[in-house]
Every structure is written in structure tokens, then in C-alpha cells.
Symmetry: C2
Subunit: 382 residues, 2 copies
């Protein structure tokens, strides 16, 4: 009993941050796949710690800022600052460097759009990373296109993934998935840090996914005006997507331009958009994927005319750490409630609904890569 | 006479740098097209000065480093550093910021690969910029592909521009231009800062260029080992291009897979590569473009068996400031001699050869955008 109490006190001290645990850092750091060509730093070790290094001879303070924590770097006699973070989850993370109060990208890393800026990103090796590795298999193409948009009076960018056999079988037509990024991100998210193309190339090579086209465009999520997300209107993006992009894709790619062969999915706020758009356009979409972005409840099904007849697939996923947070703080999460309960309830009603949890990851890209990997294997198969 | 002498003395003083001209900076700065979304800085004024701004409250010295000159920024009471450069040429320039001795990208700019790193780039508005603007015309696609390379044991990236009607006329086949970046750059150069896709979309919309495919891959220019460029061997890249990439493109795109419909061009070291590869592969290429990268002399023609029969087009170009430098320092430039003389000499021998000078630009992207714009109008037309 006394021993249990001791454990409990130590646990509470750790949780409350009052216990400083001496940390030995494992010295097996290696350069990462997201380094600029020829750069030794940043590095990651087997614990998932990120070590970065920057030349700043006249600086007084240099910090590494990753996953909302800032770590002090230390200076050597040559003016080179080096230091490392605590262990990070497997997968991709945004980060930055602070030099005497200036928040700047790490000059040694590749750059990604997220958190409302182009800046540094880092890849922490994952035990399952082979599913998104560049392998010697047939590769599809990721195409940058510009489509005309009358509603916004612009030519708008989209990225279109076409599967490996698209240029070989000129008579074949393909289903299409419209795939959305999250808040603070843009259309580069899925093709860059999301690795959507490599996930698909590998699944198709293994015969695990039906070849389909993926269309990724900017979901206008960052155009939120003062007043915050409460005032976000889905209408501008819905108009671009339904009235402009989909007709353009169907006219310029060899699609199967019908409801059974059209899906929409998105992560976080892109999931929120997906739910809003699909439920009011069930003659356009038959499959729905929400990655860390809400769920579909029995109420949703009952309040949406034709849901049971028209929807072929519902897929809802979260990172394991997100689920833990929901359990600890019920209904305090961004979307409230238990998403799994909703999926179980609509499954009982005969909906083809799936729930997936990404092990040991949070609201981050590794959860969403795994979600696409699971979702793609279910899509367009019935 | 006395007045003339005074002018002459002042002119000599200005040229020799001994006269410090008080500079009034025109206050008509505007955000640039290469800013990150939503960022007011950097800005450029009508003189081509670049003004940048960065928050760095604890820094002692912040510099703007552009076109090999460093400019001091000054700090305001909020810790914001701001300042501007001297006038820059029209077009695109790489730059960076120094914060207390750390060379970092400007957190407000978009990032480009050049000078051997991903870092800041800025667009100075040009009087002729409409030829590479995003307009409401039919757009081609820029496709990221991976092709298998046995010689390097990798899947290698290339970008492939397909013209606007490529997906409409599925029976049509197209000529192909292989287009190379310079030293310190990579395969992202032409599709990003080079704006090859927009230049072609606009030319095709005006009926000024024949629609063709452009293939852009990494020319392995930065893999030079100790010993410098003298030890550069063209063989590894020639093997990738001739034995691996061209067969892949001909098998996976609707090309006209023959010598009359295949061209190669490159800028700077990419021009050097183009000359080496085309002259020893005249059964593969019929058209040659060298942008700020050497010339074709009468000796080259006479020493290359079959040149007169096989070569349909030679195009050589330079920035006007490069030509000025060559005149001031004859034979001291990277390529020696007068490139125009060579073109005039081979023209007299009946070669279809063109020489172009980009007005008031140096060894920089504006020269090369204009060069592509001129070259494309001549290609595949006879």
C-alpha cells in the first residue's frame, strides 16, 4: 500500500511537471529524410529526439521550437549552436528556430506549409514507414493543374494524382477521391508531407487498393475572418468544389463521372468540410472519410434524406493520443462525444462504416497518412 | 568645354565609387508575388529596391543579403528590423537574412532552390512580366514523375510539362524539349522560378509556339567532387538522360519519339551539359539551346560529323549585362570569346542559328525566362 502510494505521488509529480527527471540522450542520431541535400543536421535518434545545429556566432540565445515546446541550444567555441528536443512521436512534425527573438526556418531543413506558414518540417522515422517509402514500383504522377473559377475570379491550383497505369490504358476511366488538408495548411499538404502519391503507388503495387485519381486543392480554410472559426462558411469552397473543380476534372481527366465513383475525405478542418459538403451533396459523393475531424452519428444518418441508399462507405479515424484525450476530457475535444460510438451505432443500422485508430500518434500527419492508407483499401470496392 | 570636363570628372567619380550619391528611396513599396500568403513583407518599390522586415527583439545586427551585397536593417521600439537594398534588376533573385551571424531564410518569403540551398527568393516586377503571368487561358499540367534509373540505383524525380490540349486529343503525339537548370540548382528551378509552364501556356494561347512537352530533371551538376568543375564528368548524367529518362518518357507519354522532334536546352552549366550531350548524340537531338552557357562555333560544327545535316536549330542567348562584362574583359568570362561571332559564323554556313540578348539583365532567371520565351517560338517549326 505504501509502495503504491509512493508510485502515485511520483506519477502525480511527473504529470504536474514538478519532478525533473535526469535525461540520458541516446547517441545514435542520424540525418533525416527531410534534410536539405548534403546537410548533416537536423538529426533524429532512436528515441525520436530531434537535434539541430545552426551557425550563429553573435547570438545570445538560440532555441529549437517543436511540438509547442522550446529547447535551449548551446554554443561551441566556433559559434555553432546545437541541442536536442525531447522524444517526438513517429512521423512528421513542423518546427522552427529562434535566434535572439527571431522565429525563422531552420536553414538545413526542407520546407512545408502548415501552421499558416512555409517553414521547417522534420521526419521522425516510424516503425511502419515502408508504406510511404519511395520504392522501385510503378509510379503514378502528381500533376499541378490550374482550373478556372468564376466564383473567385481566379485560376486556382490543384494537385491531381493519377495512378501508374493511367498513361498506359488510354481507354480506362477511374474513380476520384477529393482529399482535403487541415486548418493552417494548403493544397501542398497531402502531396508533400502527406505522401499521398507514394502511399497509393505502394498499395496499388501490392494489389491492395483499386487504382483511383486523387484531387487535392486549397479548402479556403485559412480565409477565416475576425470572429474565428464560428463564422466559417462552407459556401465559397463548396461552390469552387462542386460547381467548378469537379466539372473541370471530369472534363479533363478520364474519370468515372458518377456518384458511385466519387469520394471525399479530409483531415481535421478538412474533415469538417467533408462532412458538411458530402451530407448536402449525396448525389455527388458516395463515400466519406473523416480523419481526426468529427464523426457520423445516427442523428446525421436519420436527418439526411437518402443517406442509407446513397452512402456506400463511411470511414472515421483518429490518432490514438487524440482518443486518450477525449476519454480524459469527455466532450471537451473539438468535436465532442465519442466518435467510435457513432460509427458502431450506424453500423448496426446497416451502414458500411469503419473506425480506425492510429497507434501512439496525435493530431498530426502520421495519423493521417495511416488513415489514407486504411481508407484507400476500402474505397470503390463495392 | 569646361562644363564637359566637369561632367566627365563627376562621371569618373561615380564610376570609381569615390562619390557618395545621397540616395532618396522612393516610397512606393508593394508586397511581392513571392511573399508567403498574407504577408506584407518583403516589398519592392518602382526602383527595384527590396525592403524586408523581421521581428528580432534581442538581436544586435540584422542584415539583408541580396545579389552579393549586405544591407543593414534598423530596429524600431517594438524589436522589428526593417530596411532595403539598392535597386535590383527586373525579375527573380535569391536572398537571405543574417540575424546575429546566422544566415537564415526570410520567414516571410516563399522558398526556392538555388545557390545550393532551399531559401528565400523574391520577384522584382518586370516591364515584360505579362509573358509569364498566370492568365485566364487554357493551362497545361506540370507533372511530378519518378523514373527508374539502373545506373544510379534510384527512382529519380523529373517534372514534365504537358501542353493544354494533351488530355483532350488522345491521338495526338508531341515533340519534347529536355530543359536543364544551372549549377547550384535542381529540377525545381524551371517549373518554380523559371515559370516554364506559364511561359508555354501563354505562348500556346497566342498561337506563337507549337505545343510540345518539356522534361526537367536534376542534371547532377552539384555532385562535383573536390577538385572543382574541371573534374566534372558528363557521363553519369548523360547515361541517366539518354539511356533511362528518354526511353521512359517515350514509353509513358505520347511523344514523337524521333530525332527531328527532340530538343535539349539548358542555362549556365545546364547549357554546358547541353552542348556536350547534344554534339555527341546528334541522332537523338535536332535542336540545341544554350542560355548563358557557351556558344556553338564554326570549329564545333566542323569537328562534329553530320552537324549540318542533323541540326535544325541552334539558339544561343545571354543577359545584356553578361555581354557587357565580356566586352570589358574579353576572353575572361566563364566561356571565353564572343558568343555572337560564333553564331554569325555558323549562320553564314547555312545553319539555322539565332542569337538573343536579354535587355538589362545579368546571369539570372529573368534572362533565362526570356530565353525560353524566344527559343520556344522557334522550336519544332521546320
Amino acid at each position: 500500500m505504501k509502495q503504491h502510494l509512493t508510485y502515485l505521488v511520483i506519477l502525480l509529480m511527473i504529470l504536474s511537471g514538478s519532478l525533473s527527471v535526469a535525461q540520458t540522450v541516446k547517441e545514435d542520431f542520424k540525418p533525416t529524410s527531410t534534410n536539405q541535400p548534403g546537410k548533416d543536421y537536423p538529426m533524429v535518434n532512436s528515441e525520436g529526439r530531434v537535434r539541430t545545429s545552426i551557425v550563429a556566432p553573435d547570438a545570445d540565445t538560440v532555441l529549437l521550437d517543436i511540438s509547442a515546446v522550446k529547447y535551449n541550444l548551446t554554443k561551441d567555441e566556433n559559434g555553432v549552436w546545437t541541442g536536442e528536443s525531447g522524444p517526438q512521436d513517429e512521423g512528421f512534425h513542423y518546427y522552427q528556430i529562434w535566434v535572439d527573438g527571431a522565429a525563422v526556418p531552420d536553414p538545413n531543413s526542407l520546407y512545408y506549409y502548415g501552421a499558416m506558414r512555409w517553414g521547417s518540417g522534420i521526419e521522425v522515422p516510424a516503425h511502419d514507414q515502408e508504406f510511404y517509402e519511395l520504392k522501385n514500383v510503378p509510379h503514378g504522377q502528381t500533376r499541378e493543374i490550374y482550373f478556372p473559377s468564376k466564383s473567385t475570379n481566379t485560376s486556382r491550383r490543384a494537385f491531381v494524382y493519377t495512378p501508374p497505369d493511367y498513361e498506359k490504358n488510354l481507354d480506362k476511366r477511374y474513380p476520384v477521391l477529393y482529399l482535403q488538408h487541415g486548418y493552417g495548411e494548403n493544397e501542398y499538404g497531402w502531396p508533400n508531407q502527406g505522401k499521398a502519391n507514394l502511399i497509393m503507388d505502394n498499395l496499388i503495387a501490392e494489389g491492395k487498393a483499386k487504382p483511383f485519381i486523387i484531387v487535392m486543392t486549397y479548402g479556403m480554410t485559412n480565409d477565416v475572418k475576425v470572429g474565428g472559426l464560428r463564422n466559417f462558411s462552407i459556401k465559397p469552397f463548396q461552390t469552387v468544389l462542386i460547381d467548378e473543380l469537379i466539372p473541370y476534372i471530369d472534363a479533363n481527366f478520364r474519370t468515372l463521372p458518377d456518384q458511385p465513383d466519387r469520394a471525399m475525405a479530409g483531415l481535421s478542418m478538412g474533415g469538417f468540410e467533408t462532412k458538411l459538403i458530402t451530407l448536402s451533396n449525396l448525389d455527388t459523393f458516395s463515400s466519406i472519410g473523416l480523419f481526426s475531424g468529427g464523426s457520423i452519428s445516427l442523428d446525421d444518418v436519420n436527418n439526411t434524406p437518402g443517406f442509407k441508399d446513397k452512402v456506400k462507405l463511411v470511414f472515421v479515424s483518429y490518432g490514438g493520443r487524440e482518443i486518450e484525450n477525449m476519454k480524459n476530457r469527455p466532450r471537451s475535444g473539438p468535436f465532442g462525444g465519442d466518435p467510435k460510438e457513432g460509427i458502431e451505432a450506424i453500423s448496426k443500422e446497416g451502414i458500411n462504416a469503419h473506425f480506425y485508430v492510429s497507434p501512439k500518434t496525435a493530431h498530426e500527419w502520421q495519423s493521417w497518412r495511416r488513415s489514407l492508407h486504411e481508407f484507400a483499401q476500402l474505397l470503390f470496392k463495392n
